[in-house]
Amino acid sequence: MIIEMARVRIAGPRQRLDPALRLLQDVGDLHLIAAPPSVAAGGPPGSQVPRLARHARRMLDDVDAAITGLPREGPRNPLPARQVRLPPAARRAHGLRRELDALARARAALAEESTALQQYRAFFDAFEPLLQRTPRWPDARASFVLLRPGAGASVAELERSIQTVTGAEVEMHARPLPSGETAVLLLASGSAASEVEKLLSAARLDELPAPRGLGEPSLARAMPALRARITEVDAQLQANEARRAEIARQARPELEALQAQLHDLLLLAEARAQARTGELLFVVEGWLPEPALAPLRERVARELGADFVVAKVATEPWTRGDAPVALANPRLFRPFELITRAFPLPRYGSIDPTPFVAVFFPMFFGLMLGDVGYGLLLAGIAVTLRWRSASGTTLRAVAEMALGCALFTIVFGLAFGELFGKLGGALSLRPLAFDRENALAPFLIFAIALGAVHVVLGLVLAVVGAWRQGQRRQAVGRGLTIAMIVLSALALLAAFKVLPSRLFTPAAIAVLIAFPLLIALEGIIAVVELMSAFGHILSYARIMALGTASLMLAIIANRMVGALGSALVGVAFALLFHLVNFAIGLFSPTIHALRLHYVEFFGEFYSPGGATYRPLAHWRATA
């Protein structure tokens, strides 16, 4: 539901604006707005606020950059605010930022060098025994060539060409590397070395040079230096990490406290800009939940004294559209606010659909997936996600929604007698409601009937919303649309003899009477809306379509066990197919349940456009 808001105006001595704003920040309930010019002669307080905010922003840049440069750790554990003195702490943060930036640059350079050196390590491992034996020729020269992946076949061709030109003056060795490339070592006598160079150049094969900075042009002589450098780089990387960890240990709590303080300062500066000051007084104005008004009055009187006034602004000067929107739902429904918030917030004074979403979304999901096995799998994933996520995060809300969906999936799985398709039969699992494989028509009728209930519920909410906003004519029009849908359903049921046939004529006559009344009330657009409502109801047939498709895929997966000759291969394919079906079963019902809500259900009553309620409060890091 949407919390009832009160608009309040707080006035006090001009020189005590800052303590008043700090108290409001401590309370954390007042959503500030710019006070209208009529309430105070002056404008926003000038003074040094913009300059202070600029300084705070610069300091915050340093702190944010320093915290980002630290190794990732667990939850925040800031120092108590009173232990952080702003100017020296900000100077320390600036110094730490510079040191951490330098460490980050050094780490990136070392990591790049380490990657390059590791490429040579495979080369050493492949040819080291060859290079350490006594050479055939005292003046032998080693050349190293790296052939790209897939070029291994040209090794024989290269060897043939070299043998043709240089005879037995060259030894060639090739080794495949784990990367897919082929390492080639050419050992040539001094007289043949220049011929080898020419051949490599003609074949456009570049000799692999020793890494830069080792002062050796030949890889053979560079090897010991290379190995030493790899060890040195690893040690430097470890030292770099150790220094970052040390900084984190010593400075993180102070940096986190400083970050919170600076954010609070900036929030106060923004709040100050919303206030109006006259010669003697300041005035701030804002919104807060109606129940929070009395405690705020009491706290202002207790902590600031009798010089301050907290007055509720009468409802005449503002419209309901001005108020910010805060949603408050029972604990069980709260995760589903995520679905409502994915849409623009409902306008103040309209209806928050979250409680209805919390019931129908998992129900539709469960109807589509409807399988005890898949439901248990989903419940396992949801419980793990919930366990690993922090309270109040989006991931936690998704996990809790998934848990609701899993519960409905298991319940409908029992109703349809499904456990990984029809495997439940082996465990004497029988359908309690109907068998989705054979009862296609009942399932279709059930889905459309559920759609009719959902759409009519949306229209009822539209009637309530319009009535509450004083739009009586629109409320009656929506009521007539409901009557037309119900009467049409009765006429259809009577025509198909589900209800007594004698009901058909009165229902049809009532439809014929209601129709012109509807047009008279809402105009010709009412016809389009009525047709669209019928279209929306039919759209719920997707519940049956997706449910049947999910079941059929599960049945096909089970049939693979006997269809592929080997039972082992069959079981493997069946498991793989079930996994694919489960993945589709998570994605598709979610998308379509969302669509049924956003298009079919919300379309009947939802009025978006509410401003988010953002009270002046202390800054909190988001996970």
Binding site: A342, L440, A441, L444, L538, S539, T548, H592, L594, R595
Partner: protein
């Protein structure tokens, strides 16, 4: 012979609506992707936009089922 026509009609109901859905989603998809590149906050609307034409193939499937059921009856 009747059975062939029943099967053919139900297959056509799914196939034609599937083609229509594919055509519509093929037009909507690139437009939505381009919008998302500029305004990622439109992700919810984007999902709905892409999912809307699926109604056609779903109703096609329902019609196909009804044809098969009537044929069997």
């Amino acid at each position: 012979m009747d059975l062939i026509w029943i099967v053919f009609a139900s297959a056509a109901a799914v196939a034609i609506t599937a083609l229509a859905t594919a055509w519509a989603q093929g037009r909507i998809g690139p437009a939505v992707a381009a919008s998302l590149a500029e305004k990622p906050e439109l992700a919810t609307t984007a999902i709905i936009m892409v999912a809307i034409p699926e109604t056609m193939v779903i109703l096609g499937f329902v019609v196909a089922v009804m044809i098969l059921l009537r044929g069997a009856g």
